[in-house]
Symmetry: C2
Subunit: 308 residues, 2 copies
């Protein structure tokens, strides 16, 4: 790294999908000096040691954060507050605490009160991930060409913010800044509501006694299987997201059911023009996403081998 | 092909995604003798001639079906009836008419009355496709390891049915038989309702003035982009599906909103146990789909390049 590491010592708290990907991405470019890690479960710490995840895997929060210049909270949103409280006494003066939670208002409310005055707290959210979870699911390229949102609080230190921005750029991400309210609304639209809907659709299929599970599985390539991917995401993470981004999720769900009822009414009334118009409009967004490099244009996400 | 072609002459009516894929799949294995094709639009016929789609591209339905042993109706469900009526006078005695529509009860009601007594009508539905459409989007491998449902009517000729089954197996598919009522219900679950929900979610995101289109596109990798793929499917095809599989779709939509309201209530009440339980259950179905070879287990449908 030209100009030396961005941080000398980084502590990863929680060693799941995001933290493990961050570790491999840091190592890929020699972005930092030393990485310590901590996970609550013995099993996760053992796995981390076995696969070489982190330079040092610590058995206590105290050991992990002591001396760290950057502390990354990478635990489910519901655990952020208790973890912040537990590490507070051991934080080095001038250090930066950040997080990777999918919800920002709640994390700020729960974490900020515990952060000492001589420590910077800059909330963040790398918008990347797969349906896999756990310490073995991480990989160095996860953040490449994805966006990371930083949500600085009023009076944030500009230098600490700039340093964290360079860190995420070094991990491969583009960085934007946003306020917490807007973040939580945007995420309710692009992530939280879609996940809830996918979980619901998969649950309905599973519940239906008149259609067997075997049929649902065999014939899933007709659309259904796309929903099962995000409905295979980590249950604890997602429970916490919905419990903590309640307001925005309920607002977008309200909009969703309103639109769904309008389409349902068009089906019942046989209003083909309404349906055709609606289905035409939605194609443009897909094109925008492909042009922005945020998805593949290969048919079926590239799952099929295309051969003439 | 050992034992000669399965059909000497095949006519494809409609030259979109499914018919063009069928053509390339037939050619891949020399499955049939000669393939004629017809499409209503001049532009589609010109494209077909340019790319070598079909041995003969005909300018009339009469020319396309005359002398054909198998006639495949591959037009939107709403056009099946009129096309059947138009080709009826030119069908060869002993020929088989089949279709590839996503709805079966309505297609049978609209097509069967036009089929002469000396012609076999065996409805079908290959459950494969991508979000792409049109004559240039087809490819030979589309049906490999996918399922094709045949929906024989009472008193179907067993030999004609067996021949059609071998044809679809030759195209790469597995073949199952099912009655029309059950087909339409199963498809409402695995395909029609998921598509409507995806269209709705993409429409909501597009409509929301407080979240910009630019934000929706940039941050779509958090879940939303998965919905945009199926919401980019052909509007005419999908309008017709919902207009003709009204009953089953409305039934499954009713189940879906019931479940969604239960989850919404759990969010409002802060019932984390209910959410966690629901989100855990849905993981099993994903595993089943991967084990059945109906989806990839690569993270993110294999869109990400996984590197340590």
């Amino acid at each position: 790294m030209i100009g030396g590491p961005i941080y000398d010592r980084v502590a990863l708290i929680g060693l799941g999908h995001i933290a493990s990907s961050m570790f491999w991405a840091m190592k890929r470019r020699g972005l930092v000096g030393h990485v310590s890690g901590y996970a609550r479960s013995d099993e996760t710490r053992e796995t981390a040691r076995r696969i070489g995840l982190c330079d040092t895997v610590c058995d206590s929060l105290e050991d992990a954060v002591t001396g760290a210049d950057l502390i990354v909270l990478a635990v489910p949103v519901g655990a952020m507050g208790p973890v912040a409280e537990a590490i507070a006494p051991y934080l080095k003066s001038g250090a930066t605490v950040t997080d990777v939670g999918s919800v920002k208002k709640d994390v700020i409310a729960k974490v900020a009160p515990h952060i000492p005055d001589n420590v910077h707290f800059i909330p963040g959210h790398p918008m990347a991930g797969t349906e896999h979870s756990g310490p073995e699911s991480g990989f160095a390229t996860l953040f490449d060409n994805r966006w990371c949102l930083l949500v600085p609080l009023e009076g944030s230190d500009p230098e600490a913010l700039e340093q964290l921005r360079r860190f995420w750029e070094g991990l491969g991400a583009h960085v934007d800044e946003m306020d917490a309210d807007h973040h939580d609304l945007v995420l309710a639209v692009v992530s939280h509501t879609p996940h809830l809907i996918a979980y619901t659709m998969v649950g309905v299929a599973d519940d239906l006694r008149r259609v067997t599970e075997n049929e649902v599985i065999k014939y899933s390539a007709t659309g259904f299987r796309d929903f099962t991917r995000i409905a295979a995401s980590d249950p604890t993470m997602w429970r916490d997201v919905f419990l903590t981004n309640k307001e925005a999720t309920l607002e977008i769900l309200g909009r969703f059911t309103e639109e769904l009822f309008a389409l349902q009414r068009a089906i019942r009334k046989g209003d083909g023009a309404h349906l055709h118009d609606y289905f035409t409009r939605t194609r443009a967004i897909r094109r925008g996403i492909i042009e922005a490099g945020q998805d593949t244009e290969a048919p079926d996400f590239g799952r099929v081998k295309v051969e003439r």
